[in-house]
């Protein structure tokens, strides 16, 4: 039996942050993706976009510095960096849908080996699904990275051969960061780029509902 430690939510966020190059414009979804903001390397300028009309978001404010008029898409108070800009929803989504956002980091219910993303509704019969900006981001951003636990709380795989939940967008995911591995979505399917120390490829495969490929070197 191998010993391994799955990454914490914050460690997953930090792992993603590590891969974002200077100068990229990034949009962060709700949940673990939001944590990425706090993990960005201090020596790189990375510009954060929020759907509700902010480019150049800074860290959360100290309680005494809260400006109630400045919130992010998750409705949390945020700050503005020097160089920030403010705009309305149509301009904001023009940035997204026009391909001007370098990277969007999203959570997921399921990702399929062909890059299909399901992250907005947990069943086709869902009474009142809430899509928000997920579909726009999924098709509009230049790259989609998903950050998610490798399996559900019940141990069911979230990386699957076919999504069973309603799609957010077909074939859009480029890369997946889980608490167990970093996986690229390629033309031949899931390609494992990295596994947490102590976890075997076979053990990772056992928690995944699609064939994993070893990275060609």
């Amino acid at each position: 039996m191998s010993e391994f430690t799955p990454l914490s939510r914050l460690a997953m966020a930090a792992r993603v942050a590590h891969d974002i190059p200077e100068g990229w414009v990034c949009n962060l979804g709700i949940g673990i993706p939001t944590l990425v903001a706090d993990c960005l390397p201090k020596d790189r300028e990375i510009i954060l976009h929020s759907e509700n009309g902010i480019l150049g978001m800074g860290p959360s404010p100290a309680p005494e510095d809260i400006d109630p008029w400045v919130i992010n898409a998750g409705k949390q108070n945020v700050t503005l960096l020097e160089g920030a800009s403010l705009f309305h929803h149509a301009d904001s989504f023009a940035m997204i849908r026009g391909g001007h956002i370098d990277l969007c980091i999203l959570g997921a219910f399921e990702v399929a080996e062909n890059g299909d993303l399901a992250n907005w509704a947990t069943s086709a019969e869902d009474a009142a699904p809430a899509v928000g900006g997920a579909m726009d981001l999924a098709v509009g951003a230049k790259r989609i990275w998903v950050v998610t636990e490798h399996t559900t709380k019940d141990g069911a795989p979230k990386l699957v051969s076919h999504c069973s939940y309603p799609l957010t967008a077909p074939g859009v995911v480029d890369r997946i960061y889980t608490n167990l591995a970093v996986i690229d979505v390629t033309s031949r399917g899931f390609e494992v780029a990295e596994i947490v120390p102590g976890l075997s490829f076979e053990a990772l495969q056992a928690q995944t509902d699609a064939v994993l490929h070893r990275k060609e070197s």
């Binding site: 400045v70 919130i71 309305h88 929803h89 997204i96 009142a128 509009g140 799609l167 967008a169």
Partner: protein, 225 residues
């Protein structure tokens, strides 16, 4: 002299008809014209179609309007959020029609209505449930959905500074849906946080030019705390 200022909320909301399509600006708590929504409950119009990003939360504002049975249908991107109990109850009971629109498509449909564009194509929603019943079309080898404009009878908007011509600016992230809804309605009613003189907003800093605005309502809080 052009003067779009009205005395109070009641005068600002005069004439809104039963069955109207009413846009409600704001995103989260920023730029939500709460006191206009409270005024709309007073005003009494029924069978409303509401266009907003959310479906309200708690028992105030939009949620209160729905709870009062005034809303026939809601067009929004994200109805289910923390505290959206009124919406969920009404929806489950079949007492509220729902049209879910991706947030960017919602914004663009509103902008299109203001700009005289009856329909446009977008990649958002292709290959998903949102595409059901919608026309698709290929351009340069990629598939897009056709989406229609979304005009309204009335837009309820909150702005920061407003002058008597109706020129507006917004504070922080407050322009969100407000600035586009202002362009898309037959009657645009602006709740002004501050009413200012004509020369106070510099020409280059006006976000909503006055020609989009019908009435300017001075801010006064009628929202129960």
């Amino acid at each position: 002299m052009i003067d779009k200022r009205v005395r109070d909320i009641a005068e600002g909301l005069e004439g809104i008809q039963d069955g109207s399509t009413v846009m409600v600006g704001g995103f989260g708590s920023v730029g939500q014209p709460d006191s206009l929504i409270e005024g709309l409950i007073e005003q009494g119009a029924r069978e409303l179609v509401i266009v907003a990003n959310n479906a309200g939360s708690g028992h105030v504002g939009l949620a209160k309007l729905m709870e009062a049975g005034r809303v026939r249908k809601i067009i929004c991107s994200f109805p289910r959020s923390a505290g959206s109990v009124v919406f969920e109850d009404l929806f489950k009971a079949g007492k509220l029609e729902l049209e879910i629109v991706p947030q960017g498509t919602l914004a663009e449909r509103i902008r299109a209505a203001g700009a005289g564009i009856p329909a446009f194509y977008t990649a958002t929603g292709v290959g998903t449930k949102i595409a059901e019943g919608k026309e698709t079309r290929e351009f340069d080898g990629k598939t897009y959905l056709m989406e229609r404009w979304l005009p309204a009878d009335v837009a309820l908007v909150e702005a920061w500074r407003v002058d008597r011509w109706g020129n507006c600016d917004y504070r922080g992230s407050g322009r969100n849906f407000n600035a586009i809804m202002a362009t898309a309605a037959k009657t645009t009613i602006v709740l002004a946080r501050k009413i200012v003189e004509l020369d106070e907003i510099l020409p280059e800093n006006v976000v909503t030019p006055g020609l989009f605005v019908s009435r300017v309502v001075p801010f006064q809080s009628n929202v129960p705390v």
